[in-house]
């Protein structure tokens, strides 16, 4: 009896703690929309009134538009390349066994645990030694490296639920290898592929360190934001820009999550469970 009462008490405290923790997690992010719509040139309380002029200011900033275009190009290229590379590795790992597989996979996943500055510096040293000039393509090269492990993690769970018998049936019915992939395998893993594209796109869009080191004269969006942070007068419009990015990231993530759940459900697992998310 005592034990049960204690458990209820501790459960209540845990709820309070968990909610407080979530407030701490979200506290800084909440400030973005708050000050993006605030009619004051300094970012401080009290709020002075409602305005949308900071968003209007973004609309008329040419340099920003260039950065957005660059970032979109980098993020789309990164998403496509790293998802293709991730699909190769995830398929190989889930279907075949070969000597040294653990080592090979561990090496490919290594960028997950390397500090980004190490990856950035290493790539910079090599590119300079090879006499290559820095451009958006060098940023893409770095982003593909750090995004591929995420793609592998997502696609591995998509491939894991795939039944070999479906592909075998397709072969037996006379489809070629490519035909089987296109008509059987690809549709089955499609939700995983879309989820991978969205996640890698989001990572690339937000990544700063590698872009900072490897970018040439064309800057990406985070590098542009970095250059604006020095000027206090630019802060409100940075807040507005941050709000747009926040909404975009959350929207993309929610779509990715919907597709991930659909992928899990398609394989007959419980869609509400946490499998595959981690």
């Amino acid at each position: 009896m005592m034990g049960r009462a204690m458990r209820y008490a501790s459960a209540r405290w845990l709820v309070v703690y968990a909610v407080a923790y979530m407030i701490f997690l979200y506290a800084p992010v909440i400030l973005l929309p708050l000050f993006a719509f605030n009619d004051g040139t300094v970012v401080a309380f009290p709020l002075t009134g409602f305005t949308t002029k900071w968003f209007g200011l973004l609309w008329s900033t040419e340099a920003l538009h260039g950065a957005v275009r660059n970032s979109a190009f980098v993020a789309v290229s990164t998403a496509l390349i790293s998802t293709v590379l991730g699909a190769c590795a995830a398929r190989s790992a889930s279907k075949y066994r070969f000597p040294g597989q653990r080592g090979v996979m561990g090496f490919i996943m290594l960028p997950l645990v390397l500090p980004e500055i190490i990856v950035a510096v290493a790539l910079l040293v090599m590119l300079i030694q090879l006499g290559m000039s820095l451009s958006l393509w060098t940023v893409i090269a770095g982003h593909v490296l750090i995004c591929t492990p995420f793609s592998i993690a997502i696609l591995s769970s998509a491939f894991a639920g795939l039944e070999d018998s479906l592909e075998e049936a397709s072969f037996d019915l006379g489809e070629t290898r490519w035909g089987t992939f296109r008509r059987v395998t690809l549709p089955l893993i499609m939700p995983g592929v879309i989820s991978s594209l969205l996640i890698t796109f989001t990572i690339s869009l937000d990544e700063f360190i590698i872009a900072f080191f490897l970018t040439g004269t064309d800057v990406t969006l985070p590098v542009y934001i970095w250059s604006q942070l020095r000027f206090p007068s630019k802060l409100p419009s940075v807040m507005a820009l941050g709000t747009i990015l926040l909404v975009l990231s959350v929207a993309l993530l929610m779509v990715a999550e919907v597709f991930r759940r659909r992928a899990v459900r398609r394989q007959g697992m419980d869609g509400g469970s946490t499998q595959g998310l981690i």
């Binding site: 979530m22 992010v29 070969f98 000597p99 490919i108 290493a122 934001i225 990231s249 981690i278």
Partner: protein
């Protein structure tokens, strides 16, 4: 890190049996080869080059390729580098400890008390992580600044008369910001480990007369240890090399080793010294990680 090294050894060991590959192995290797070749060119080669650089010297644009330990001698003995290295380690150890200790109850709550909305909670925890890291760090600067949100709110409430200055541009600000930024990473591995615990063990302990506290320390915590170790490493390794946070909120007293590495590759134009600093900090972090990994294996994983 230890696991990575073990994996390396197994690759080396397996290299000799390549000629007698089965068809399955060949297909598997063919399929993975684009990804592997990419990682070899874009990761293995650059890392090898950084190591090579750290043994060379540079005069403006000329590279002297005579092998020398001078860069390492400088990196390990110059007071400025020692101070930065120690500070980086101290800050990221404090961050790691704080983050993991604060995250554990949340993971525990999710695993043991939330029934039907686990996925939603996990989603909500990961959302802030997906918003720009740069902006999240910058927001802490906005919060903690002289005319910042925190000070202006306190002054409006009449709690303080003039802005607090000790909250920004020092090591404490770096700790707070990093602890916030890496929180989701600490929760997830602990949650996974807690989910794996067989609930009947807890009932057994209770039936055998263990109170909640004793039961926690004899069963829950030891079995959650692999998750605790994983989240410790996931937070520790990247925070030692963090560049943005010290630069934005650290002031001069909060700068860390990554900032110095960037200076060496940039303004100071001494890439070999930068490389030696990078390699040194990787070795130190790897050594600490291996230590934590084995300590975790010794003290956890089984019921006490």
């Amino acid at each position: 890190m230890a696991r990575t090294m073990y994996r390396w050894c197994s690759v080396m060991g397996d290299a000799q049996i390549v000629p007698s590959l089965s068809q399955e192995s060949r297909q598997g290797l063919t399929l993975i080869s684009p990804t592997l070749i990419y990682a070899l060119i874009m990761l293995a080669a650059p890392l090898a080059m950084v190591v090579a650089f750290s043994f060379w010297t540079q005069n403006y644009l000329d590279l002297d390729k005579t092998l020398t330990f001078d860069n390492y001698r400088e990196a390990w003995t110059q007071p400025i580098f020692q101070v930065l290295m120690w500070r980086s380690l101290r800050i990221s150890l404090i961050v790691t400890a704080t983050t993991v200790v604060l995250a554990f109850p949340v993971a525990y709550y999710l695993s043991f008390h939330v029934r039907s909305r686990k996925a939603l909670w996990l989603f909500l925890i990961t959302v802030p992580f997906w918003t720009s890291y740069l902006l999240r760090v910058f927001l802490w600067k906005v919060i903690l600044g002289y005319n910042g949100v925190f000070n202006s709110a306190l002054m409006n409430l009449g709690i303080i008369d003039e802005p607090l200055t000790f909250i920004l541009y020092n090591a404490n600000a770096v700790v707070l910001t990093l602890a916030h930024a890496w929180a989701p990473f600490a929760i997830l591995p602990i949650f996974v480990a807690l989910e794996k615990i067989d609930r009947s063990l807890l009932e057994a302990a209770e039936d055998l007369g263990d109170g909640p506290v004793r039961r926690f320390f004899r069963i829950t915590l030891p079995l959650a240890m692999p998750g605790v170790v994983a989240s410790t490493l996931i937070v520790l390794i990247p925070t030692v090399g963090d560049y943005i946070t010290p630069k934005l909120v650290g002031g001069t007293d909060g700068l860390m080793v990554a900032n110095m590495i960037q200076v060496q590759f940039g303004k100071a134009n001494n890439a070999p010294l930068g490389a030696a600093l990078a390699v040194s900090s990787m070795i130190v972090v790897a050594a600490i990680s291996i230590g934590i990994y084995f300590a975790g294996r010794k003290f956890g994983g089984k019921i006490r």
